[in-house]
Amino acid sequence: MELKFTPEEEAFRQEVRDFIDANLPDATRQHLKLGNAPTKEMTVEWQKILNKKGWATPRWPAEWGGPGWSVTQMYIFQQENQSAPAPDPLGFGVNMVGPVIIQFGNEEQKKRFLPRIANLDDWWCQGFSEPGAGSDLASLKTRAVKDGDHWIVNGQKTWTTLAQHADWIFALVRTSTEGKKQEGISFLLIDMKSPGVEVHPIQTMDGGHEINSVFFTDVKVPAENMVGEVNKGWTYAKFLLGNERLGAPRVGSSQAKLKELKEIAQKRIVRGKPLWDHPRFRDKFVEAQIELKALEMTVMRVLSGIEAGADQSKPDPATSVIKIKGAQMVQRMTELYIEAAGEQGVPWLTDEGDNAQVGPDWTIRAAPNYFNMRKSSIYGGSDQVQKGIISKAILGL
């Protein structure tokens, strides 16, 4: 066991940091620093820069353009990228559908899709949840019926993040109603421009438009767009969700937020002294740092296990621990911001213009981010689903 990074790893960190400093557009950095989500253009621009350098797909094998990094290097890269802050490479592509295609897809699919995923030429979205299939995902009803060399898809997906930008959707579809419900699900890649695909926006309580409903009406999908075997989609989905959960903690991003929060607190004068010097604020801040350190160590421990060759064919139950704690951490950050903003967090920046700006720039995003991040303990398998997994897989209950 060794906590310190090797000199080589530290050199790598410096290399990553220098590259980001030299190449990350300043407008993007400033936009993210204020707590905004990146725009589509910012994400695409940055991922193309990373891909040119060969860094857009850290977890992919070298054969498909991965940089051949150790798990530690991947971790260092993610931490540096998030703390810059720079946009993450689009997770739906590089961390979700990409690895599924690499692991379970055929050669044509790999050649056709992987380079475009890496370069973000195609924006992917995730078609899993349905109005009647949330935590009970396996009860999904969107049907795909074989018709010659096509599948005909009918149904509705929901909570589809950024579907409004998407060129492609990877969808779980029902191809059989016989036997166990998990055994009749397939993994299908659908072109969003296909006739019969409709995207309807869902407005969230923070006022934003990030999620959508996607409707499929007699959508014709070429048979070659099925990944792996028919009716084996549940296995691929579990593989994908394990990867999704591992990406959830966003440790680097939380570290960057704490750093920024400290700067804010040092500048903000409350009752004659900096907020930073108020014991109640300092306590909360340090407690958040402690929690984050524990999460960071847990993430590193799990990654180290993967590097040491732990069985990866099924998800590690510790990923559930990381998912739960990761969500809590992200949410805790937003609580600290809204508590620091106080009454200056009350105005709601709407389409009425910038009348609502009353405090420093960061205060305007404090409340919307707090509201919006409640999603992180709901999506990707809610806290309750994760605890169910821990109860079964670890406790044997």
Binding site: I202, R271, I338, G342, V358, I378
Partner: protein, 368 residues
């Protein structure tokens, strides 16, 4: 000791709740907040006709002479429906601030408020003032005000604005500014909980000083104390409805072939919400009983105690409600998100958790 309501109090609570149930459902509320001025004047009139605005004023000023207990009941009903109008300004803040006024001033302003003709606002916080008890910079000079006030609820729409300011000798006063007064500029916006608020700038704006009653500082502290007490009642109402909506949802929503409310893990999360809410109910009563206490120190510590409890419970119930609703709880298509947002804003209002913990800790904790 007596925590029981009398018949008049029960009737007040029931009739307001009935009116709101009829006229203030989710769809109606959406319409009201989209109206010019951010509210429906007909609803404001209905409040006045029910006598809500007469409630806190003494009988010899055309009022009913109600106590903070009646105010708490109104606040609870308002929280239940997450109403957006500035009723707090009309029935809690204005009557308290007017205690600094002469009886002629009081009678003149109270009449408009009681009848519902006048919408009042309370302008106290300033941009460089992050806590409610910090020094004021808004200045009075020769009967005119200059300065800036921030996050003034319905500050742009209000007919009369109660403005706190210091005079040349540094003494705090309460000044009344009329809508459209010379040198007054209002920059209005929507708030996170769909009310209206504004940034107000005064530039040599004519203002009438309230004088002849109690000390202005004392009236301000009283107004803030009573508003805090009422806001705990309001949070209670919002929590009650948030829990009801959430329980109704988990009874109906099916996953794994049965309503998710049959899962014990979810039941216990909701049950904890009830535990928190019941504690707040007690604290809302405590706050109502203590907010008119003559001993200011005892009053303020009691209110801080109630507020800290309310903050913790509001956060638990708000977050729990979204979690148990799952994805739909995140959307504007369900009303639960609006309850969560209102509860969050109530946590911040009238001094947040840290502010009140500071006050309690500086005092060495509760007396006993």
């Amino acid at each position: 000791m007596n925590f029981e309501l009398n018949d008049e109090q029960r009737m007040l609570s029931e009739s307001l709740s009935r009116m709101l149930a009829d006229r203030y459902d989710f769809e109606a509320r959406k319409k009201y907040v989209a109206m010019d001025g951010g509210m429906d004047p007909a609803i404001w009139k209905a409040y006045a006709e029910m006598g809500l605005f007469a409630l806190p004023f003494p009988e010899d000023e055309g009022g009913i002479g109600g106590t903070a207990t009646e105010t708490m009941l109104v606040a609870e009903a308002m929280g239940h429906a997450i109403t957006v109008e500035p009723w707090m300004e009309a029935m809690v803040l204005a009557p308290s601030l007017l205690q600094a006024a002469s009886s002629e001033q009081r009678a003149k302003i109270a009449e408009g408020i009681i009848s519902g003709e006048t919408i009042p606002a309370y302008a106290h916080l300033e941009p460089a003032m992050l806590e409610r008890d910090e020094g004021l910079k808004t200045q009075e000079n020769g009967g005119k005000l200059s300065g800036t006030k921030t996050v003034v609820t319905f500050g742009e729409e209000a007919d009369v604005i109660f403005v706190t300011a210091v005079d040349a000798s540094g003494k705090t006063g309460i000044y009344v500014v009329k809508k459209g007064a010379e040198g007054l500029e209002a920059r209005g916006y929507k708030t996170q909980d769909e009310q209206r608020a504004a940034e107000l700038t005064f530039d040599n704006t004519p203002a009438e000083k309230l004088e002849g009653g109690i000390d202005a500082d004392k009236a301000i502290r009283l107004a803030e104390a009573k508003a805090l007490a009422a806001s705990i009642g309001e949070a209670l109402g919002a929590m009650e409805q948030a829990i009801d909506l959430t329980v109704a949802y988990i009874k109906e929503r099916e996953q794994f072939g049965k309503p998710i409310g049959t899962f014990q893990a979810l039941q216990h999360i909701a049950a904890q919400g009830v535990v928190e809410k019941e504690q707040v109910k007690s604290m809302a009563m405590y706050a109502a009983l203590m907010c008119e206490d003559e001993d200011e120190h005892a009053r303020d510590l009691a209110l801080s105690t109630a507020k800290v409890k309310m903050c913790d419970a509001s956060r638990y119930v708000g977050q729990m409600s979204i979690q148990l609703h799952g994805g739909v709880g995140m959307t504007m298509e369900y009303s639960i998100g609006r309850y969560f947002k209102r509860l969050t804003m109530l946590e911040i209002a009238w001094g947040d958790r840290d502010f009140h913990m500071d006050r309690l800790c500086e005092a060495g904790g509760l007396a006993a």
